[in-house]
Subunit: 421 residues, 4 copies
């Protein structure tokens, strides 16, 4: 088995490599091919990954490829974790949001839009390479905004693509910790889109324990991803809802507070991450180091490696495990279009990921999911068609954009560099 | 034919009565029964209506009834134009919005929610009376928020109910005026919800002339309803959209500007209307007057009478005219639930109103319509169940409510008087 | 206005021409262009039509064109009434059914399949000509099997196509006759496919009188089309159903009896028609004759001209009349695919025909309609792809084909001449 | 864990008991409670089951209960395998079919209808007892016609009901045998209704090997259930279809041949089974016997025990195994109503069975599935409402009933004893 990592120079790569190394025999892993457009980071991170693997799992070959084609050629799995434009671009997105008085986060609002527009064309290029060089490969897309990027892949390429995020597994780990049980005994019935999902049942050994958990809604506050603000839903809202909303739903249900909070922050999240990354890269560059640093956990990707390996294992070993991933909708959630990317529990085996039947969306969650999906669909269309018109309509259709003047203003700023016309 | 007007003391009644009088022979109208819980206004307005009819159409009997049952008994048509709590309640709704920094308008946002919650129980009581006293009657509901109230009627009574608003006909008149043609040659293909609809084709003698109209988007700025702020969409948005959005969509597409504007207004719309109504009532009270005053047009109900009479005539005379009204969805707009009230062109004849097939909703308009419909569904549910929980979820599901803290705060303020628990 | 008739040598043409002549001034009709691949019949029938028009409506020009392109060029309406292979082919279809012990009728069963496969390519050729020579024209397709042929046109050309049959109007005339009222006061709410439709409400001045009509189910037996056998549904079935099924549904609900009856007939319907046509052609050929012969009514096309002119008038004069025609489904009947051709009441005006919302299909009628539609879809696919595989699947999917051996046997017989592979 | 078997006197019971005994420790099985209205058979079969268990798994208690309530009280699983009216009733159903010249088989056609009508009320009674005495229990329904009976349970009781049949597992075993591999490596992607399903992919270690299998369609002829006639599909049909149809689909795709064949048989299947059962009961009655007899395999229930234990184990041990069972549709197969029972691969765990997403139904299989489902829905309705009208409509809606005269004739014969009015 060959696994290719596009964006292999990411500071996350050692996390993934560490996880793969520990399961390599079981998975039959023979080669990890890393590629990155930043040759220096590929050298530094790739070198560190090579040392890790030599120690943990010497039978696995680590190859560093300057060409994406070479990395992907003949791969069984391709993991994409690129960040087009790097943290500098992220910083600009966050500032863009602040300047317009709206959310500039990298996965939603105008920040997410800007990132999606930069990213979709690159992912579709990678998909074209997979179609040619590794037509049977599974593409595991970690690149944010996962929901939009995965929908672009599902609708505009023939690659067997699965979107993946560490939030569902992180939430499961949190619930297991609160319950004080082995995570293997816990399953979460969640529904929605990536970063816009709701847990409707929390199962311990197959029995729903969510009502008890929600009685102490405060109990859910641990283990939040590090890259979103520290806000809390009022307990009565959670009780009324009867579900656990994804932390990212705070951008919607506590929009006002989140925007206020963003305006008070002195540093963007991008700037915080840049500092963390400098530390990590120093660690990786030191030829003496061959174990992942403790500080990696600050980077925000808890369980990232775990999530990836769960999917790879389910496919490679044809297990049929139930995992929460991003797939094509079909009629699973009939309140959304058939070609939408959705995030629901799926059966994952050698066939790929197949969604499990869902009960209807409650109206309390239906509207916001549908609204954001319409925005996502328009964003994909705008990117594929390089259309300024669709870009304006996409932002105007976003529930967090409070005026079409903002939509037009944002497109005026970023549309030129995106080549929209 | 007997027509009952519930809320007959409304200052609009003379407008309706004037229209009916002019078509009474054609319609076979024999009796107009007015009822109102405000005995003094019923006396003043009803007295004036009686004088009007005696002059214009003396064969029609005008009866003033203190009992709703008596007014409805045996009616063929029931028109509802009540305002529960009067302009005082409206003023409170508008102030409620201002206090929370959100839209307090009477048909949307927290103001619309408050009005809907006060109004639904009263309309359902009227429906019960119709079920008993006039089971074959058609209920024409003008009471705002028309979309929510009509959905409550369609889902929770067996009465043949049609929601009606003067916006669609007003927009058609505007378009005819811009084109310089007889309105009878114009038809608008609009789709959506009441106060949340989009014109996708504007037909002159059956040929679509919308693209030409949108080239000069400014041309559409005339004839706006008097009760919404004077804001303008940027021309590029309208061109990108390729449709005419209802003026009320400014609350969504220009939310920020509308809230700012609201905060700067010294008087609420309710206070403006109260002053206008005083003038009108003085006119009506003067026994010498038997014609509707010119100032009635300031009240905001342009074409109100025209719209009502179009529907009544289509049913009474079984014409099959194409009119834009609010009806049950079924599968006409499959992106919305089957039991939703929608506002689309319908064929109206003795069978009632049947929707005409619609093309799919474009994603540029789909999200906001779906989002608001989810809120509307929860509002109906909250009212019918007198549920505080559903009230919180309804407001949390409204795209113009920027925080669940606002949702809970509003329910804290008004939930008690509504009897929620 | 120019109207082209493809298959203008049909013995029906004088019926159509007679109707057009009587409304020509009202419609603004300037030219009727007839074309036919049978030059002799075009000469005979066209000559007669010319004499009729000269007498009835001399301002209308009648042109006989040997080229379909020339006939269609610049037309506003194109009426198609071709019979590929003529009555000889029909005879073979009927004998084919008899040989396999199944229905060989020209619109359903193996006979209908054979006719559809011969006909679809010709209609699509005509559609291509319209796309080039008369892109704004409306195609009114009378060619059987109307349901399948119209679906092919709707799915495989951009022409504004409407399927039309004289059955709905004939049934309405029957009902009016039974009720003893002017047909203008009657409307039938029917749903389904062409030749597979059910009347769910019969409205007299907008009030449903169907329950009373069904009490005497025998009353419905008049006015049946001349080209289907004289069978009767048992009264209890009609009462249980609570609807009037199209006469052609006898092939399904009385399949056994119809097959028995077919096996006892000495002459095919084709042979009967050939004799009638000889008489008609003799009449037409006689230069003294300039009025349509009484015997034309035996040909089976009662109200054929009436039906066509209703549609032409509704479009040309933008009336918005409610007419039962064959159009694209969309979500009108959600139990059928969106791209299905369905036969339901539509609003017909300058925009074309738009379906009116329908209540859900009752299970008593749902299954057979869905089953036949699947067959129809496969037939269109088989014709467009010239696919033997799809042809076998189409017949295997037909509820009146009792064995896949029959399906394969029929395809063995006719597949070669159709060019299937 | 307690497992109750209603219809415990069935000659199948030893098969089930044998399987349970071999897994009892793993499952934590403590008690098997058998109940039957036939006290003598309960004594004979129950006695034999007791001896089997004492030998194989002495820690499991076998209780024989004359009262269904007592057997079900506190059960975790209830297995229903009743045959209302016994083989005598089956014989009458088969003769009924023969008399009308139509299929009289016990799961489809008029035979299946008759059996469904006798059976639904009894299963709903059992469901009521479960609701009261064992509200958390899972009902595994083996009672034919499984599709209709399970739909009645799903729509008219709150019991967690799963329909189960040995056909899917039998087909999987056949495919494994043909491939020469361990059945654990094989999964079949099938879709449809019980006894009306189609295998669209056959997966060996997750890779589709169906195309190869179909090349030699003859290879699929082994392992057919013993209770349907020995007919073969023509190879070209199977190749064209590209799927494996359930053997029971021969009643539809080879209807003519199957009816012919039925008319030639001297004995009904019921009579054959009666003879087999006499043998089995003699074996069971002999107190020396404590192992299941070889002749049990002739009874037609191959893998019956295997199928049951797979489901019980998946639920009891919360495994999430992928099994083909009968569940509520929801939107899994959007071409069927949401409340339909469908047979598809499901994830089975402590939550019950949840369907896995399905691609759209191909038109080659869609029509017949939809048609039969409409019949099934009407049959459930007729039984629940004891309605003669719905019974006629049900049979008239069955694609194998060639005339409404047959529908009425059958209802005339059996309606009285069923209490229809």
């Amino acid at each position: 088995m060959k696994l290719a990592v596009v964006g292999g120079g990411s500071t996350y790569s050692p996390e993934l490599a560490d996880g793969l190394a520990r399961r390599s025999k079981d998975l039959g892993l023979e080669e990890i091919a890393l590629t990155d457009i930043d040759a220096e980071r590929l050298r530094v991170v790739g070198g560190f990954v090579g040392r890790m693997l030599r120690k943990l799992s010497p039978e696995v070959r680590v190859t560093l490829e300057s060409s994406t084609e070479a990395a992907i050629d003949g791969a069984d799995f391709v993991v994409t974790q690129i960040r087009v434009g790097g943290q500098e671009a992220r910083k600009k997105d966050e500032q863009l949001g602040a300047r317009f008085g709206v959310i500039g986060q990298e996965t939603t609002g105008v920040g997410g839009f800007s990132k999606a527009m930069r990213t979709i064309p690159e992912l579709l290029k990678i998909a074209r390479i997979i179609e040619e060089r590794a037509p049977g490969a599974v593409l595991i897309n970690f690149t944010n905004p996962v929901s939009i990027v995965t929908q672009a892949l599902l609708n505009h390429s023939s690659v067997n693509s699965i979107g993946l995020c560490n939030i569902p597994i992180g939430l499961k780990m949190d619930v297991a910790k609160i319950l004080g049980v082995d995570p293997a005994r816990v399953k979460l019935d969640s529904v929605g889109l990536n970063h816009l999902s709701f847990v409707r049942r929390a199962l311990l050994d197959g029995k729903d324990v969510l009502p008890g958990l929600l009685e102490d809604a405060g109990a859910m506050r641990e283990g939040k991803p590090a890259n979103i603000p520290e806000l809390d839903y009022p307990a009565e809202f959670i009780t009324a809802l009867g579900m656990i909303p994804s932390d990212y739903l705070r951008y919607f249900f506590l929009q006002r507070e989140t925007v206020d909070d963003q305006s008070k922050k002195e540093k963007t999240r991008a700037e915080e991450v840049m500092a963390i990354e400098q530390d990590l890269l120093s660690h990786y560059a030191d030829e003496k180091n061959e174990e992942k640093p403790a500080s990696l956990s600050k980077r925000g990707g808890a369980f990232y490696s775990h999530a990836a390996i769960e999917v790879i294992e389910a496919i490679a070993k044809n297990t049929g495990d139930e995992l929460v991933v991003d797939v094509i909708n079909g009629t699973t959630v009939p309140e959304l279009p058939p070609d939408a990317a959705i995030e629901v529990p799926c059966i994952v085996d050698a066939r790929g990921a197949r969604a499990i039947a869902q009960p209807p969306l409650e109206p309390s969650i239906r509207g916001v999911i549908q609204h954001v999906k319409a925005y996502e669909e328009l964003t994909v269309r705008s990117s594929v068609n390089q259309s300024r018109r669709d870009a304006i309509l996409a932002l105007a259709a976003h529930p967090l954009v409070p005026s079409v003047e903002v939509a037009i203003g944002v497109v005026d700023e970023i549309g030129g560099s995106l080549g929209l016309s």
